[in-house]
Subunit: 181 residues, 2 copies
């Protein structure tokens, strides 16, 4: 849970980051930036700010802002009905991104959030710089973390069904609760 | 048809535009920028430069550069097999874009390419500025033209099958021929 004030502050901060790199967004889009704390209540550590640009029955495009060292927890996109699961291409626009998938343990730069360490099982590290992109196949487990200057990235995908995402941490709820205050 | 030299020059120019707005691309991506003259041999008037970022069996993402006043001719994306046709969201990143669809004739800023005037039948003008986006439904006819400072735009879509695109001008061929020289 985060407060309305925390939500607005994170929206403003993410919007400022998008505009800093010259990506024009409207005031309405700024207000629609989704601030996600994964129900953990420690947004700065495990959280993400998402501006959904396109969401039709066929594709989704999201612009993500991660604050410095902020982490999107380990998750995957399962099959849903006839859909084999979300196929997602991530492309970094700004900052650095540490991306983790299954494979040999090469974790070097990343910092596992201590309080949730048991739920970060993937340790194969891919360090991305602006212009780098990679494809996450349906069902492929992954987590990622911004470097010290944060990260701005695109997620280009088949239709997103966020509510069906699976997380390694069973304490996570994808829908963020906003408290008054 | 364009020459190899014209192709390389247009690639370099488009790559410089992408980098000017801070969109990082690799040298390999620069070499993969598609220079499209629609088989008309007048690239500066009717043509487009396209960097395909994502092309899977499910989605396509393209970054387009139009030089000043350059025009992408009237076309639409027809059904192909089970696919009802490409569903495409266009978002302008830089410059201005004049976008034309069916509807009341409101053409004001646009300039119809004189030599092909008969093939520009849509005159309902939407003037886009950076941050604006619109959705082209499958089969919806459209054409667009950059303003005086050019235009850089995203096309986010269901899978693109460029070779099946239909054009108002029957003289158009989607695949650009490159001549030595």
């Amino acid at each position: 849970m985060i407060t309305r004030k925390e939500q607005r502050e994170a929206q403003r901060r993410a919007a400022a980051e998008f505009r800093r790199i010259g990506f024009a967004i409207s005031e309405r889009e700024c207000e629609n930036i989704e601030v996600v704390d994964f129900g953990l209540g420690r947004l700065e550590i495990e959280g993400v700010q998402i501006l959904t640009l396109v969401h039709t029955g066929r594709i989704s495009v999201k612009l993500l802002c991660l604050f410095p060292d902020q982490t999107e927890p380990e998750h995957w996109h399962p099959p849903v009905g006839d859909d084999p699961g979300k196929e997602e291409t991530v492309r970094l626009l700004d900052g650095t991104l540490r991306f983790y998938v299954e494979g040999e343990d090469t974790l070097s730069l990343g910092a596992i959030p201590a309080v949730s360490a048991a739920y970060y099982r993937l340790r194969h590290e891919i360090v991305m710089k602006p212009g780098d992109q990679l494809l996450c196949k349906p069902g492929q487990k992954h987590w990622f973390q911004a470097g010290r200057s944060g990260a701005i990235l695109f997620s280009f995908s088949s239709v997103a069904r966020d509510e069906t995402d699976c997380f390694a941490n069973p304490g996570i709820t994808r829908a963020t609760k906003i408290a008054d205050g």
